[in-house]
């Protein structure tokens, strides 16, 4: 059991680093979804199902979606400004 927890903690640390190092916002959204998934697995291993469900819905689905829509709106602004 402690091996799985150790691995998941390491995975969470790496996923966090992945989000920070992916400088391009579009790629960062994918990294954030992966980070949300890594945290969800860690929370399930830490016997916290409520928090894992919440992290899954918010951290992996809702927040990356908001990022994607913001990026789409920003790109549309740029196209309009260039006109």
């Amino acid at each position: 059991m402690s091996l799985i927890l150790g691995l998941l903690l390491g995975l969470a640390a790496l996923a966090g680093l992945g989000v920070v190092l992916s400088r391009d916002p579009r790629r960062q959204v994918m990294a954030m979804a992966a980070n949300g998934l890594a945290l969800t697995l860690l929370f399930f291993a830490l016997q916290a199902p409520d928090v894992a469900l919440s992290e899954l819905t918010v951290g992996t689905a809702a927040t990356p979606l908001l990022f994607l829509v913001t990026l789409a709106a920003v790109r549309m602004n740029r196209v309009r400004q260039r006109k």
């Binding site: 059991m1 402690s2 150790g6 903690l9 390491g10 969470a12 640390a13 966090g16 680093l17 989000v19 920070v20 400088r23 391009d24 916002p25 960062q28 959204v29 990294a31 954030m32 980070n35 945290l39 860690l42 929370f43 830490l46 016997q47 916290a48 199902p49 409520d50 928090v51 919440s54 992290e55 918010v58 951290g59 809702a62 927040t63 908001l66 990022f67 913001t70 990026l71 709106a73 920003v74 602004n77 740029r78 400004q81």
Partner: protein, 117 residues
């Protein structure tokens, strides 16, 4: 192994702050802020964990079996809501800043300093 979660929490906070300090795009910066916040999730939940303990949901196993700390989980639930609200507000602000200034790079967005008298 006994100090790994605390170090991972400190690592996530440090990486998040590094991301915010060196970011050249506000949307990337907001992503790094959420990494900085995930350090508090890891710290709090690891504090509540106990070896050989089950989840604090006494549906499958009878009440009284050794369970992890539910108070910490309630705190992290509130914290996840905090994260969602701050991210939503920051993204809305970033959209407005982009619509007005046409750029999302903090370097170019420095507020004008009204100095000199």
């Amino acid at each position: 192994m006994s100090v790994l979660p605390w170090l991972v929490a400190a690592w996530l906070f440090g990486v998040g702050v590094y991301g915010v300090a060196t970011s050249r795009n506000f949307i990337h910066l907001i992503g790094c802020l959420s990494v900085c916040q995930s350090s508090t999730y890891v710290l709090l939940l690891s504090l509540g964990y106990r070896w050989k303990a089950v989840a604090p949901i006494f549906y499958d196993h009878p009440p009284g079996t050794l369970a992890v700390d539910p108070v910490v989980q309630a705190l992290v639930l509130t914290d996840i809501v905090v994260g969602a609200t701050i991210t939503a507000l920051l993204l809305a602000m970033a959209l407005r800043v982009d619509a007005k200034h046409g750029t999302l790079d903090p370097q170019e967005l420095r507020p004008l300093q009204g100095e000199g008298h």
